[in-house]
């Protein structure tokens, strides 16, 4: 299913990613009284990005809770609540602040089920952001999803479209495990068709082919899907047919889906906005390079954020993130 049209096919509405997330949260708050939200400025402010506007008005301050600026603390609280019957959604305003919650997330939430031999569960959703180019500099521009994906016990979702954002958020909330869901903050206003379905729950672990093609596969995560589609358009101009595959979740990872596309096209570029070295792109590339080894006609190429802290100055920042043009060049180099 390609969900990138901005014309609404029947049975869908075109809404922004922000609205899609808002709807997902509202619907889950409505259907399950154990769901609640905790975070900084989530209530009256509706988050600084206004993603949660209206929620506190409908659900009250007991279920949409403004917290102190205590990321480790609220994550720990949410875990304790999750272990005792609640389904918290923790809002971590910027993905860069994951640095603060790693102990509670990794040593506690990720492991409690296993360490307790399956006696506890931690149905906890952490909602946060990734992505640069907002001119927010090094501490507000990181894409740290690779860290989370490296930790057994955690699941990781990276929606690229409004429909995926809604469906993955609802799936995350209903999942009995800790799920970290990253939204690209540059995409809050991005529009797309979302099915009219208040039970739009996407399965975690199923890649989505955002565009079909024959000559080269571009595996792209989060907003890099748009970059990949742009590259695919440019490639089409050269008569090269590119397939764009979005894993949608890094954990669980649809390894077969990625390998299948690679086997079909024989050429692969992986695009992910995390830093390139030791990033998610490495796992995706290594998986494909091994899994489609005999079918590959060229080395798997990777495009991640440059291995530098994200700089403030626009002329510098624009160098750090893959673009349609740069991915096009990489892919074209493979096809020759």
């Amino acid at each position: 299913m390609s969900t990138l049209e901005t014309q609404a096919p029947s049975g869908t509405r075109v809404i922004t990613q922000s609205q899609a997330v808002n709807e997902a949260l509202a619907e889950e708050l409505r259907r399950d009284s154990t769901v609640y939200i905790i975070g900084e400025d989530v209530a009256e402010a509706g988050t600084p990005f206004k993603v949660m506007s209206g929620l506190v008005e409908e659900f009250g301050p007991e279920r949409v809770i403004d917290s102190p600026i205590s990321e480790p603390g609220i994550t720990g609280l949410a875990l304790g609540a999750a272990m005792t019957g609640m389904r918290p959604v923790v809002d971590i305003m910027f993905g860069d602040f994951l640095t603060l919650i790693m102990d509670q997330l990794v040593n506690q939430a990720a492991k409690i089920r296993y360490m307790s031999g399956g006696h506890f569960k931690a149905p906890l959703t952490v909602r946060t952001t990734l992505g640069a180019t907002r001119r927010s500099a090094a501490q507000h521009s990181q894409s740290l999803h690779a860290w989370v994906a490296h930790v057994p016990g955690l699941k990781v979702a990276l929606p690229a479209t409004p429909a995926d954002a809604k469906g993955l958020m609802k799936a995350a909330i209903r999942d009995d495990n800790p799920v970290v869901i990253f939204e690209d903050k540059m995409n809050f206003a991005t529009k797309g068709p979302v099915p009219d379905d208040d039970d739009l729950v996407l399965p975690l672990g199923v890649a989505d082919v955002k565009r079909e093609g024959e000559d080269v596969t571009i595996v792209a995560t989060s907003s890099m899907v748009y970059v990949a589609l742009e590259a695919a358009d440019l490639l089409a101009g050269d008569g090269i047919s590119a397939e764009v595959v979005d894993p949608r979740t890094l954990v669980p990872l649809d390894r077969d889906g990625l390998i299948r596309s690679a086997q079909k096209t024989g050429r692969v570029v992986v695009v992910d906005e995390g830093h390139q070295s030791y990033g998610a792109s490495a796992e995706l590339a290594a998986t494909i390079a091994a899994g489609a080894f005999w079918e590959l006609d060229a080395p798997v190429q990777r495009a991640g954020a440059l291995d530098v802290p994200i700089p403030f100055s626009p002329v510098l920042e624009d160098q750090t993130v893959p673009t349609g043009e740069s991915v096009y060049e990489l892919a074209k180099g493979l096809v020759r």
Binding site: Y114, M115, H119
Partner: protein, 329 residues
């Protein structure tokens, strides 16, 4: 379980006797754990609770079964005091499938869902968030459950503790922060790592603090009872500092301790401030028990523990294939 002033010890006689028995069981459990280590029958290391029994027992006897606790790396005492089964505990210590965590947790992660023990924790201070969240959950779910968060004075070094105290105070959550000041952070005296007065640490967050003799199980019980009642009635969190001492090393392998504390200091605590001896003497003085009765409590405990050790030694290890179970729900 109501406190009756007319009883000789100021608490219900049954309760006093039960607390004695519980302390004795913990002592016997820990001595057996030490033996298991020394006999190379226990994998890894473990941290003994010997000397601190009055804290866990006094506190847990102030709780209902459906109340919660969170525990620490030094957690056997808390676990037993909250009602856990000796067999399943020993089995866990030995990594057996019959253990509380099917062998996956070991000593530092024992949890007991049925009795509200949300788990030991190998991250110092790591359970403060869980405890506070369980309290928030109790409030949101509309139960009147209370949570006791046990931690050592070393955990006062962890910022998390203050973050959650602030929220507990703001939202009047039913949680008791119970700091067991056993004087040492591993091999360093707490005075070298802890500025100011320990009991003052919560006041800045608007949380009342109370200090109690952690070797006096009756005092601990009274103190925690007040704190629990406060929490249950919507009065919010309390900070309790119980001054105590671990009689053994930081962990079972810590046997040469002279470089960080004197034999004299250890002897003083063991001789003059053993919580079991103390309560025993008071029970006898008040004619609530004879020395023979106390001895038979001890014998029963030893038997229960010996049986638990046998159970655990005989229990099978989990199947190797279980390694991939329980990662996700």
């Amino acid at each position: 379980m109501a406190t009756t002033a007319s009883t000789p010890l100021g608490v219900d006689n049954e309760l006093a006797l039960r607390m004695y028995r519980q302390m004795v069981r913990i002592r016997a459990f820990e001595e057996a754990a030490n033996e298991l280590y020394r006999g190379a029958k226990m994998p890894g290391l473990t941290h003994l609770y010997i000397g601190q029994e009055a804290v866990a027992v006094g506190a847990c006897e102030a709780l209902r079964r459906d109340d919660f606790i969170t525990s620490t790396h030094r957690g056997h005492g808390h676990c037993l005091a909250k009602g856990a089964d000796v067999n399943r505990m020993f089995a866990e210590l030995l990594g057996k499938g019959a253990g509380y965590c099917r062998g996956k947790g070991g000593s530092m992660h024992i949890a007991d869902f049925e009795n509200g023990n949300l788990g030991a924790n190998a991250i110092v201070g790591g359970s403060a968030g869980i405890a506070t969240g369980a309290a928030q959950s109790a409030k949101m779910r509309g139960t009147d459950q209370v949570v006791v968060c046990f931690f050592g004075e070393g955990a006062l070094g962890q910022g998390l503790v203050y973050e959650v105290m602030n929220m507990a105070a703001l939202w009047k959550l039913p949680v008791v922060y119970l700091c067991e000041n056993n004087q040492y952070n591993e091999y360093t005296h707490y005075s070298e790592t802890t500025a100011g007065e320990v009991v003052a640490r919560a006041a800045g967050f608007g949380i009342p603090g109370e200090e109690v003799d952690g070797q006096d199980v009756l005092a601990v019980n009274q103190c925690v009872r007040r704190a629990v009642a406060r929490g249950r009635e919507g009065g919010g969190p309390t900070f309790v500092v119980a001054n105590t001492y671990r009689f053994h090393g930081h962990h079972v392998g810590d046997v040469d301790r002279a470089y960080y504390r004197t034999k004299d200091e250890e002897e003083d605590w063991k001789t003059n401030r053993d919580p079991i001896t103390r309560l025993g003497a008071r029970l006898v003085d008040a004619a609530l028990a004879s020395p023979e009765q106390l001895e038979s409590v001890a014998n029963e405990a030893r038997e229960e523990i010996a049986a638990g050790v046998r159970f655990a030694l005989d229990a099978p290890f989990p199947a190797a294939s279980e390694v991939t179970d329980d990662v996700y729900a």
